[in-house]
Amino acid sequence: MSAKIETLETQKDSSMLMQKEMINSNYDLLTDTANNGKKVCSTFVPGNLNELIQSFGMLNNLPETNAIQNAMRQQSGDMIQTAERMGHSEDVCTYVKADIGMMSKGNIAPNGKPMPNPDLLLLSYTGCFTFMKWFELLRQEYKCETVMLQVPYQGDGEITQNMRDFVVKQLKEEVIPALERVSGNKFDIDKLRENMRRSAKAEDDLVWVLESAKNKPSPIDAYFGAIYYLGPIFTAFRGTQQAVDYYKVLRQEIEQRIKNGQGPITPGGSMGKEKYRIVMEGPPNWTNFREFWKMFYDEGAVVVASTYTKVGGVYDQGFRHDADNPLESLADYCLGCYTNRNLPKRVDMLEKYMNDYEADGLLINSIKSCNSFSAGQLMMMQEIEKRTGKPGAFVETDLVDPRYFSAANVKNRLESYFQMIEQRRQGNMIASAR
């Protein structure tokens, strides 16, 4: 028995270690451009064109991921206050302020070395208006080439051919020429296709992993735990062989957990009895990530599906990078971002999660400084309650500003919510026994 557990622990470690090494290796490449001569493209996770960027031999730097890394290392608070001292308002997106604060503090990467200045600012998703303003600020600072790919909002809940054509046109006329100019390399569609083929492979395995939460007990936590699983595909590795390998290993580990009837692995060890199955809407809080997670696993609550894990692609809704139609597929990827979906589409997606994953309720983590996510969330919650008859609840935190995480308040709400689910369950049992 103990030997078995050991093997499992090692298996868990192998995907965790792989993930960690991958993320670190990208920071090492980024902070070594003086020697490796690589050009750097700053871009954002939603709608990122990693396959395309890498087909030009460029590196990918993601400012919001840096903010997350800094928050998890308890450094974002200082950075945000630095940005506020420079005049940025308290109400501005805290990712932006963490990034600006990081710049003014020498732009030190998590590996302790200074980040290079970007050679290109490539905004490939304008669904978040703040992204545009953010890159305007960075352009002011770095005075480098900047491309903003305009992505129309799915106001009617679908991607039309017109929208697709509009994005493809911009890819051809603005994005690709800019990448050619900055990298000095010609566009090679075959390289792009190759990358996209590998993306689709990794995406298949990722979807399998996320959908494994349909099992009871769920072998994964599809919010807190899944953040780690998403690391590679959301950052610089989509389209690489490393990502393909990582998701293969991860899938094998999860398969083993299902076979053993095990629940998710948490920072507190293997989770105890699964008492509540929750669907989460909204990004996590990063400054108190583990504390927040603990409030769940201590109560036996596991997240079985979440929308945040789809901000880097709604693969479980059927999207795959398509090597046969590379530019159209990239356009669909940008247009299909989770926050680019209109509210009815988001509600439909949540409802499907509630049903497909047999969840006990919907929990919304509403982010103070992220309107892309937060606007309309209460309406969404009420609609889900109406459609599914399952209870919803609301907690309010922030992305990377530690001042907006009140542990007592959040814990109070979460415990109330879980106890409410339990009480209603008992109430239903009594009612059905009558």
Partner: protein, 437 residues
């Protein structure tokens, strides 16, 4: 007899309710939460048990109606003397601790001088404070700290003048000692105190000898009933501090929902405005919570806001409501941010607005904010029950009635004079169900 106890550790006050095995509440107790939740929980529980004893005594006396005085009068008399006896124990503790501080030599005044001043202070204190327990006397608070503090400040000033020392020193000694006094756990056995109280009533000629014997007999019987703490459930902000296993702790939202349901079974919506939280709760026909919303990490517009405003205006918290009721003009206050409201208040005063109109505006601002929380939780359905410390404030209640009428039409609004115990009541019922169900 089996007793089920619910304890609600709030940020401002700690409440306890004792319930019997039929689900009938027997007694309740309250104390300030101080910085020590353990003692606060113990004090509130002891107080609830005291009030349970008095209820049991009332029941027994009602059965044997051979007294010349009414049961009401017996209880009123006994409770006054009981509170006085209890109060004098705390006053003795305070005196002892103040004496110890004075003797340390940490003050520039000589210990002897300080001691003389303290002797004089406490002699006067005892006389002044005993008056608060005379028949017909009204006490502004039930907490020792509040009652002793006010009088101490006045008396100490006189004594300091007499000894030609600074009254600040005496006040400093008091401040250091009162915290310790509050943290001395109460005596668990109160039987003796009850008997002392009855004797003291006899000595004060408040009860006839013939009644005394009968009351003493009934009281002794009631005191002999063992109040067994069968199950205790804790709730409120300090819940995690209670020395209970996890399954003895319930969320205050669930407790408030169930408590309101027990008080008013037709309630479907509960508004609770406490010291640092405002909650809108929806419950079903069994008192089970179906939805809730509360303020986020900022406690703007909660009970503390009123406390802060009272301090700003140098008023007692209990004076705010009555003052606001005198308002004749609507002044709107935009901010429920505690700090901004202070600024807005001074600004309005400088513009010549009347205090009562401004205070009424502040009450409206609080209720407006809670209306938004209520609507986010699903609006007001059928009966609305208003609970928490702020429900005791008549001006807040008035604004709530107006705004509920405006937004939801004719809705019954329930406010129980004991609404502050709603959470503890729900917790006691959870305790009972844990054993009886």
């Amino acid at each position: 007899m089996k007793c089920f106890i619910g304890i609600d550790l709030g940020s401002t006050t700690t409440k306890a309710v004792v319930m019997d095995d039929t689900g009938a509440p027997l007694g309740h107790g309250i104390t300030n939460s101080r910085s020590n939740y353990d003692t606060a929980a113990l004090v509130a529980k002891t107080e609830a048990l005291i009030s349970a004893r008095l209820v049991l005594l009332r029941q027994s006396l009602d059965k044997s109606s051979t007294l010349t005085m009414s049961t009401d009068n017996v209880l009123y008399m006994l409770e006054r003397h009981f509170r006085l006896a209890q109060f004098l124990v705390q006053l003795d503790n305070l005196k002892r601790l103040c004496g110890e501080k004075a003797a340390t030599g940490n003050y520039k005044e000589a210990p002897e001088t300080l001691n003389t001043a303290l002797e004089g202070t406490f002699a006067a204190l005892k006389i002044e404070l005993s008056k608060l327990f005379e028949p017909g006397a009204v006490r502004k608070s039930d907490f020792f700290r509040d009652l002793a503090g006010t009088v101490y400040m006045e008396v100490a000033e006189d004594q300091a003048a007499k000894q030609d020392i600074k009254s600040d020193t005496l006040i400093n000694i008091y401040d250091k000692s009162i915290i310790e006094v509050e943290n001395i756990p109460p005596a668990v056995d109160m039987s003796e105190t009850f008997l002392i109280a009855l004797n003291s009533a006899l000595a004060a000629e408040e009860i006839k000898t013939e009644d005394f014997g009968k009351v003493k007999e009934t009281l002794t019987q009631v005191l002999a009933i063992e109040l067994e703490e069968t199950y205790v459930v804790g709730t409120g902000y300090g819940r995690a501090r209670l020395p209970f296993p996890k399954d003895h702790i319930r969320s205050e939202i669930l407790c408030h929902g169930l408590g309101a349901h027990l008080m008013y079974p037709k309630t479907r919506t509960v508004l609770d405005i406490g010291g640092q939280d405002t909650k809108g709760i929806q419950v079903d026909e069994h008192g089970i919570v179906v939805n809730f919303q509360m303020n986020d990490r900022c406690a703007a517009g909660c009970g503390r806001y009123l406390g802060y405003i009272a301090d700003e205006m140098q008023l007692g918290l209990h004076e705010l409501g009555p003052l606001a009721m005198k308002s004749t003009k609507k002044v709107s206050i935009n901010s429920t941010c505690t700090v901004f409201a202070g600024a807005e208040l001074r600004d309005r005063l400088s513009l010549g607005e009347k205090r009562e109109d401004i205070i009424a505006g502040l009450h409206r601002a609080i209720i407006l904010r809670s209306m938004s929380i209520l609507s986010r939780s699903g609006g007001v359905d059928n009966e609305l029950t208003f609970t928490g410390g702020v429900a005791k404030n008549e001006a807040a209640v008035k604004e709530l009635r107006l705004l509920v009428q405006e937004n939801y039409g004719d809705v019954t609004i329930n406010i129980d004079p004991d609404s502050i115990y709603t959470g503890a009541l729900g917790a006691a019922e959870f305790a009972r169900r844990a054993v009886e169900a």
